[in-house]
């Protein structure tokens, strides 16, 4: 059996983490630790909490998010991240691509499994 290594998983996470951050910001602005906790709560998305911050900076450089310091009543001043219009468009495009992509991968994985099971069944002594 082929084990998926940590490096491959990290690459997978890196690929989908950006859209996941955009999706969280789509509902409302969030500050850094809040994003980290929401992503960690989803399970399996973060290799480490710190990876979120370079990603946020990259998304901001790409114009997909903006950040702003805000001091809400009774709270400390925090840097809140918000999704931009370009970010919403990027997220919508990803969602559309992802649905197709996930369906294709699922189909291939399913077929592969079915073929394997078929091969085993054919080879079984009767």
């Amino acid at each position: 059996m082929l084990d998926m290594g940590e490096a491959e998983l990290t690459e997978l996470r890196r690929g989908v983490l950006g859209p996941c951050v955009l999706a969280l910001l789509e509902s409302r602005p969030r500050f850094g630790l809040e994003l980290v906790r929401d992503l960690a709560g989803a399970g399996g998305l973060l290799t480490s909490d710190g990876t979120v911050y370079p990603l946020l900076n990259r998304l901001r450089d790409a114009g997909l998010v903006t950040s702003q310091w805000q001091a809400r009543e009774g709270e400390r001043a925090r840097r809140y991240y918000s999704i931009t219009q370009a970010g919403r468009q990027s997220l919508a495009a990803f969602r559309s691509e992802w649905a197709q992509f996930a369906a294709t991968v699922s189909q291939v994985l399913g077929n592969g499994a079915a073929e394997s099971m078929g091969a085993v069944a054919k080879g079984r002594p009767r």
């Binding site: 980290v36 480490s48 710190g50 990876t51 911050y53 370079p54 946020l56 900076n57 925090r78 840097r79």
Partner: protein, 274 residues
């Protein structure tokens, strides 16, 4: 917690590692990422967090070098000139014209402010024999500290070696201690050796100490901090220092340099107190 947690030895040690690793990043990017890390720690660590809780938050962040590697990977997909675009180049050209129009004086001031701060390296230790004979060194995940018994009413202190690795003379003219040492100690004195210890066999007690003291390019000095200790500490409490802010004159500008020690110097309970 801010001040307390940021001064915590684990956090300070993590930030030191981050600063060392982040030297490969552009300065604004490194500064921004550091600010995000600091905010993360401030949010995640409660006011009464234990060492274990703080260590867990830092472990969650991941090793500082991996965090920086992630930032390098995130920003390094395309060479930066192609990311700038023609509008960016127009802005850059305009900025260059503005910069060229600035006076020599302004540029000179900026260059003085950007000179690298004094760097801690080399020798260090407790100053007085009753202390260095009874020091206990401990090492946690990311930091080293030495602890000695507090001696109420007596002068205690330590020295570290600081280097000027820049091309400009730096003159230390004061500090942020304003007469106060750890645990409310009084009569704190910050002094520097008037000559380079490397030229005197590195023996700290053989040198003369004063303030202000100038450190020419490429030379080092011992920085000695002493105070008269007050009060006692319970077995569970320690008080000490792992950094100091110095007022330093570079050229004709004066600035504050944050000097982070390679180890913490702490006072604790001991045989001098009930």
């Amino acid at each position: 917690m801010s001040e307390t947690a940021l001064a915590h030895r684990l956090v300070a040690g993590y930030l030191r590692q981050f600063d060392a690793a982040a030297s490969v990043l552009p300065v604004p990017r490194a500064r921004e990422l550091r600010e995000q890390v600091v905010a993360h720690v401030e949010e995640a660590v409660g006011p009464d967090a234990s060492d274990e809780e703080i260590a867990a938050v830092l472990r969650g962040l991941g090793p500082a070098r991996l965090l920086v590697a992630e930032a390098v990977a995130a920003s390094g997909k395309r060479p930066w000139p192609s990311r700038v675009g023609w509008k960016g180049w127009t802005v850059i050209g305009a900025l260059l014209l503005v910069v060229a129009a600035l006076s020599w004086y302004y540029i000179k001031i900026n260059s003085m402010n950007s000179v690298r701060p004094l760097f801690v390296e080399g020798q260090s230790g407790w100053w007085y024999p009753p202390d260095y004979n009874r020091q206990v060194t401990t090492q946690a995940d990311l930091a080293t500290q030495t602890t000695v018994p507090i001696r109420p009413g007596q002068r205690q202190g330590f020295f570290i070696q600081v280097f000027n690795f820049t091309g400009m003379t730096q003159t230390v003219i004061g500090s942020n201690l304003e007469g106060f040492g750890p645990n409310g100690g009084t009569s704190a004195r910050v002094r520097l050796s008037t000559s380079d210890p490397q030229r005197h066999g590195n023996e700290p007690h053989a040198l003369t100490y004063a303030l202000p003291v100038s450190i020419p390019p490429g030379q080092s000095r011992y920085l000695r901090i002493t105070w008269i200790s007050r009060g006692c500490l319970s077995k569970l409490n320690i008080a000490g220092m792992d950094s100091v802010e110095l007022r330093v004159k570079v050229g004709w500008t004066t600035r504050t340099e944050y000097i982070q020690f390679n180890e913490g110097f702490f006072l604790g309970h001991g045989g001098y107190c009930p």
